[in-house]
Every structure is written in structure tokens, then in C-alpha cells.
Amino acid sequence: MEKNLFEWISFLLQEYGQYFWQGTIVTVVISVLGTFLGFAGGFLIGIVQSTPVHDDDSSMKKIFYGFAKKLASVYIHIFRGTPMMVQAMTIYYGLRQNGVNITPFMAAIAVIMLNTGAYMAETVRGGIMSIEKGQFEGGMALGMSHFTIMFSVVLPQALKNITPEMGNLFITNLKMTSVLNVIGIAELYFVTKTAANTYYRYFESFLITGVIYFILCAIASWVLNIVEKKLEGDKDYELAAEYISE
């Protein structure tokens, strides 16, 4: 007798449950690692790009920042301007064919990192630009250096403003890892294809995977919500009773 939809799903889960599970783990691990490395890189580039260079700065500084900003802009254009799947193929096979023994896992993390970094750099730059000039001037008037102002005043505020966008990037990455099956990494999409091919049950297999992706994204949104609330801080404050004079 022909199995119905639910029977197929439970059959596939029995047969391939462990593969789906492993694929999910791989997807989560490469998304999380790639995204966070990308965030770090993006912050670095965004900060460099928003460092002002004045006419009377030393020529060393001018050359360094001039070069770094150009380089950053080229990098951003390349990674935003090409599909992630193509980047994966180029980086993975480009390195393999030239004797660099990179694993699909490493290549996958590198591709996600480089992609996220490119988007993140612009997000951070925008976040920094969105902070009113007065915050910089308040710090300057106290004699703070540019980097002190950046790290203790501007970035904490910018970070809060760009958290939703960072969440977007992470969720996009969770889903975009599926294209990395082209370099043979056993993430969720890759294992689904394998399962589907064995019994020719494409619909059922991908329905399972769709649900898994959906749950992953839902969990990510939930966590991000909590983080946003944390960064928002308390709505109330307590008066310091010891300093209230009669």
C-alpha cells in the first residue's frame, strides 16, 4: 500500500533523522561562526572607514587610512556584487587547485564571514553616522581621543541602533548556508538532497527541511528580541536616597 504524506515524513525521519540532525548542527555552526567572525570584521572595517583624517595629520596616518579605506571599499564592492554561491566555488576550488588544502567546512565559514563582513561594514558605518555629532563633541570637549569616544560613547549607541540589522544578517545567513552545498559541505540542504534522492520523495524531504529552517529562524528571532530588550536598558531609575537633601 502506498504511504501517505505523514507516513513518508515519519519514515524519512526514522531513516534519515540522524542526518537531518547533523545537517542542522552543521548549518547552525557555520552560520553562527561565520556570522560572528563577519560581525567582528565588519566592525573593524566600519570603524576604519569612519575615522576622520585631517589635513594636518601625519603623512603616515594619511597613507594608512587612505589605503585601508580604498581596500575596504574594493572588498565591499566585490562581496556585495557577486552571489555567495559563486564566491564559494571560486574560493574553495581556487584554493584547492592551487595546492591549499582547505576543507569545505573552513571554506564555508570563510565565505559566510567575508559576505557578512561586507554588509556589516556598511551597517556599522551607517550606525556610526547616525549618532549625532554632539556625542563626539561632548567627548572632544573633555579631551577624549577619537578612539576613546568611539569605543566608550559612539559604538555602544551605534550597536544598539544596528541590532535589528545584525539580526537580519544572521537570519539571512542561516538560510543562505543552503547554497554552500555546492562545495559539498553536509549542511541541512545537502543532507536533504541525499535523503530525497534515495526514495525520490522530494516534497516530503524538503517539507521537513523547510520546517527545520523555519524553527531555526524563529529561535534566532526570539533570541535577538531578548538581546534588543537587554540593550534597551531599564525604563525606570531609582533616585539615590542618600543624596536627597531635606
Binding site: 595629520d57 554632539g134 556625542q135 563633541e137 561632548g138 567627548g139 572632544m140 570637549a141 573633555l142 579631551g143 577624549m144 581621543s145 577619537h146 576613546t148 566608550s152 560613547v153 555602544p156 549607541q157 544598539k160 536598558g233 531609575y237 531609582e238 533616585l239 539615590a240 536616597a241 543624596y243 536627597i244
Partner: protein, 244 residues
């Protein structure tokens, strides 16, 4: 010895000359109010003194030493010259207490304890000590400005610059801030105050400067400047102000 001395200061934004050959000095303990209509260059003058604007030409001296040099020297100079802004510019990510400790710790490298004690001392002076746990967004304009003054005072500056400190405040808050400033004047703090509060300038300043179209039109004791100005533009301005 003058705390601040300005010689032949000029500032251009493109072709527009905002400050033209400005000369003035302020001695220790003096309270100089700078008045004049909008666009006369008052704020730009203040911002040039603290190097937030780059002068086009001229010289500015702090305790007989020309200001400028590399970024480190500039930062060091700024730490000795306090500034209070029209828009407060408190750090939005910090509490009142953290705002008042940040300069002490990050710039003057004071210990946490010293920074805390100084912050409390000056917050008490401006009547804001009970609010140490509040964030700037939870305060009214007048409260923010008093915290900003306390923050500037924690640096124990040689001179304090005020850039229209009450212009962004609701009328009923202006008094609180002016009272704090008057208290500082009475204690002998050297101050340069750009303001539209004529009564305050007349009663508190030791000298008043009237600026008009980028030049110092008149620089005199307030008793003279407000009652019997030499310059016809000063007279015109004051008349308009009293009517307005």
C-alpha cells in the same frame, strides 16, 4: 597672565568670513559674557577657542602658550578648558554618574574612587546628585544642562566655556541653570559665556562683549555697555532686545 588670549583670529567658512580679526583676552576669575544677534560669530568664536572649529588665521594662547600641536596636545589642552553646549551633549549610553566620571577616568586617569567622589561633589553642587542612576533621556533639559556643567567641572578646568547654555531650555528651567552659573561666578571660576540672557550678562559678568557681523563691536564692563554703549550697533541691539 591671561587665561585665554586671542589675537587677530579669523575664521572663514568657504568665502564667508564669520570671524574677522578678533582680539580679546580673559584673565583669571573674570566672567565674560558674549552677546550679539544670531550669526554674529559668537558660537564660532567659542568653538575656535576649544578647537572644535579650525581657525583660518590668527593666534590663540592658553596661559601664554599657543594652543595647537598634535592631537595629543590638543586633547590635553581641551581637558583643561571645559565646554558646556546648547544641546548638552551628555553621553546617551551612560548614566548621570558615568557621564561625570568618564572624563576623570578616561582622560585624567584618576582612580575609580577619586572619580566617583569628584562626580558626587559636583553633582551635589548643581543639585543633581539624587539622579546619579538616571540616563540623560530620562531627564528634563534643565537637569541635563546641570549634569553637563557638573561633568565639565569634574575636569577642574582653568576656564569654562558656555555656548548658549539656556537657549534650548523651557523658560521655567532657565533660572535653575543660570543660578548654578551664578554660583560658579561667585566662586571665582573663569568663564566665557555666549548667551541671550541679557539680565544675566548685565548682573553676573565682569565684562561683556558685543559681537556684530564677525567683529567685536564693543568690549566693556556691563554697567557701561548696557546703560551707555559707545557703539550705535550695540545700542540698536539692546533696544531691539528689550522690546523683543
Amino acid at each position: 597672565m591671561a587665561v585665554i588670549k586671542v589675537e587677530h583670529l579669523s575664521k572663514k567658512f568657504g568665502n564667508h568670513e564669520v570671524l574677522k580679526d578678533i582680539d580679546f583676552k580673559i584673565d583669571q576669575g573674570e566672567v565674560v559674557c558674549v552677546i550679539g544677534s544670531s550669526g554674529s560669530g559668537k558660537s564660532t568664536l567659542l568653538r575656535c577657542i576649544n578647537l572644535l572649529e579650525k581657525k583660518t588665521s590668527g593666534n590663540i594662547f592658553f596661559l601664554d602658550e599657543e594652543i595647537g600641536g598634535n592631537q595629543k596636545q590638543i586633547n590635553q589642552y581641551r581637558s583643561k578648558v571645559g565646554m558646556v553646549f546648547q544641546s548638552f551633549n551628555l553621553f546617551n549610553n551612560m548614566t548621570v554618574l558615568e557621564n561625570c566620571m568618564s572624563g576623570s577616568i578616561k582622560v585624567l586617569k584618576r582612580s575609580e574612587e577619586d572619580a566617583h567622589n569628584l562626580a558626587i561633589k559636583f553633582l551635589k553642587k548643581v543639585g543633581m546628585a539624587p539622579y546619579i542612576h538616571a540616563k540623560p533621556s530620562q531627564l528634563s533639559g534643565g537637569q541635563k544642562q546641570r549634569v553637563a556643567i557638573a561633568r565639565a567641572l569634574t575636569m577642574e578646568p582653568e576656564v569654562l566655556l558656555f555656548d548658549e547654555p539656556t537657549s534650548a531650555l523651557d523658560p521655567e528651567m532657565v533660572g535653575d541653570v543660570l543660578n548654578v552659573m551664578k554660583g560658579l561666578a561667585d566662586e571665582g571660576l573663569t568663564m566665557i559665556i555666549v548667551t541671550h540672557e541679557m539680565a544675566f550678562a548685565r548682573d553676573v559678568s565682569t565684562r561683556t562683549i558685543f559681537m556684530d557681523q564677525g567683529v567685536i563691536a564693543e568690549n566693556d564692563v556691563p554697567s557701561k555697555l548696557f546703560s551707555n554703549p559707545d557703539n550705535s550697533r550695540t545700542k540698536e541691539f539692546l533696544t531691539r532686545f528689550m522690546l523683543g
